[in-house]
């Protein structure tokens, strides 16, 4: 065994102090610039925070990948989740005329919109990929109105930090930060491949978030809440996904 020399001890001490100071500074900076995700604590907190912070620094202003029409998948996979409720089936039988999207929270003008109201807003179409966390993917054309145009209509208050969204079953909910919320590719989707959005793919209304994995693109959306404090929702982890063990930020 060789003894640790005084020089090594000094170098080690300086390195450790510098490292600790660097980490503390990094944490303060990350908090200040909103680079810590809602589930950024616990044993996986450092990894999640590094991923989210790097993505926010690197990819904030870059739009989702779009593909040529020839690459649209012939047989997309619907990945049907639990069968819709009786209420849903009743609305489906009536052609979703009663479907409403409630927009509230930190907004100056809360809204209640029908699907035909949404269709009078600026429409946009995009050919983007759905990538599931399991590994599979498909490409489709998605038609709808950008979430940002609905939020502008509702007049967001400046304190807004996150947009929370719920499915027809309120236990299914998620949230995105303002970067993804204001991205013109984040689409309140009503159409798919030149037809109405089919129910197995989330019809009549799905929030497509193409820069994140499929599970952030919630199906059957009925309610959008703007908030300045994500901790008030559920267990305070930003969406229902971390409560099942899945990370809040799925742009990886």
């Amino acid at each position: 065994m060789n003894k640790i020399s005084r020089r090594e001890l000094i170098y080690g001490g300086v390195a450790a102090t510098a490292g600790a100071a660097g980490l503390a500074t990094a944490e303060r900076m990350a908090k200040r610039y909103g680079l810590i995700p809602p589930d950024g604590s616990g044993i996986y907190g450092p990894g999640e925070t590094l991923t989210y912070a790097c993505q926010r620094i690197l990819t904030t202003c870059t739009p989702a990948r779009e593909f040529p029409r020839s690459m649209i998948s012939k047989n997309p996979f619907a990945n049907e989740i639990a069968p819709p409720t009786d209420e849903f089936k009743r609305m489906q039988a009536a052609g979703f005329k009663e479907w409403r999207l409630v927009v509230d929270g930190t907004v100056a003008r809360p809204l209640v919109l029908s699907l035909s109201d949404l269709k009078t807003m600026p429409m946009r179409s995009q050919i983007t990929e759905v990538a599931c966390e399991e590994g599979w993917s498909y490409i489709a054309e998605w038609i709808g109105t950008p979430l940002s145009s609905v939020l502008r209509e509702a007049v967001l208050l400046p304190a807004t930090r996150y947009i929370v969204y719920y499915a027809v079953e309120k236990s299914l909910w998620g949230s995105i930060d303002m970067t993804d919320a204001m991205d013109p590719h984040t689409l309140l989707t009503m159409g798919m491949n030149d037809g109405d959005l089919p129910v197995p793919f989330g019809g009549p209304l799905r929030l497509r978030v193409p820069r994140q994995l499929g599970y952030k693109s919630l199906k059957f959306v009925t309610h959008i809440t703007a908030t300045d404090n994500i901790k008030k929702f559920g267990k305070g982890l930003g969406s229902v996904d971390p409560e099942y063990g899945y990370s809040w930020y799925a742009g990886i």
Binding site: I43, Y44, P46, G47, E48, L50, T51, Q55, L58, T59, T62, P63, A64, R65, F67, M71, S73, N75, P76, F77, N79, E129, A131, C132, E133, E134, G135, W136, S137, Y138, I139, P210, R211, Q212, L213, Y244, G245, Y246, S247, G251, I252
Partner: protein
């Protein structure tokens, strides 16, 4: 430095291997190109049961789903591996470790050097004198391929599966042929790294597990001339 980063990488790699395996179970089908799903013809299928009932397999049961924590740990371990690799990479260049110990020596840049060394292994001729303290051409080649090819490629193919990263850098997916190609290469690369791990552990065991382990952890070994301490 080399030893510390070696063992940090080892811990991160085991975590990545286990969690990566768990993630594969949720969709053990592999494709080529941009897209692929159960309605697409696969390139190949790993014949294991799946943790999703939507994936057709030969087995009539569904494995428990472990993707949540596996994904959290996979990405955290990936950060640990990348940051460790960064420290090691900078050290390797600055200290001359790569040049001195890893890249094959110039006199060995010939097929003959490889052939001779393989023959030596096959005849089980023990290394003589100076060789025991240095890596031979086969070891150098194996280590260099792992460090300069397989690890960078697995980081690249991992990033090429990130929807947000590929939004910023579309060429990272496009150069590989698409997202599903990246996933397939990621799997094959992890298989090669696992193969390296098995061979590496076997050679350590064959050449005296206790003395080599002592050398790999402490830097030197009492019962051999093997010495991994830096600056020697």
């Amino acid at each position: 430095m080399v030893r510390a980063t070696h063992w940090l990488t080892f811990i991160a790699f085991i975590a990545l291997l286990v969690t990566g395996g768990e993630i594969v179970i949720s969709h053990p089908r592999f494709y080529w190109g941009e897209v692929g799903n159960v309605n697409t013809k696969p390139l190949f299928v790993i014949s294991i049961p799946s943790s999703r009932d939507t994936v057709p397999t030969k087995y009539n049961y569904v494995m428990p789903n472990q993707n949540g924590w596996s994904r959290y740990l996979h990405f955290e371990a990936a950060w640990a591996a990348v940051l460790t690799g960064l420290v090691y990479g900078i050290y390797g260049v600055v200290s001359g470790h790569f040049r001195k110990n890893l890249l094959p020596e110039r006199r060995d840049w010939a097929w003959r050097a490889y052939r001779d060394r393989i023959a030596q292994y096959l005849r089980r001729i023990p290394p003589g004198g100076a060789e025991e303290n240095s890596y031979n051409v086969l070891q150098r080649t194996a280590y260099a391929v792992v460090i300069f090819v397989l690890f960078p490629l697995i980081i690249w193919t991992g990033l090429a599966m990130s929807p947000s990263f590929t939004a910023a850098f579309p060429w990272t997916a496009a150069l590989l042929g698409g997202r599903q190609s990246a996933r397939t290469i990621h799997l094959i690369d992890s298989g090669l790294l696992l193969l390296f791990l098995l061979v590496h552990v076997t050679t350590v065991a064959v050449s005296g597990f206790r003395s080599r382990m002592r050398a790999m952890i402490m830097g030197y070994s009492r019962d051999s001339t093997c010495d991994f301490r830096e600056g020697r």
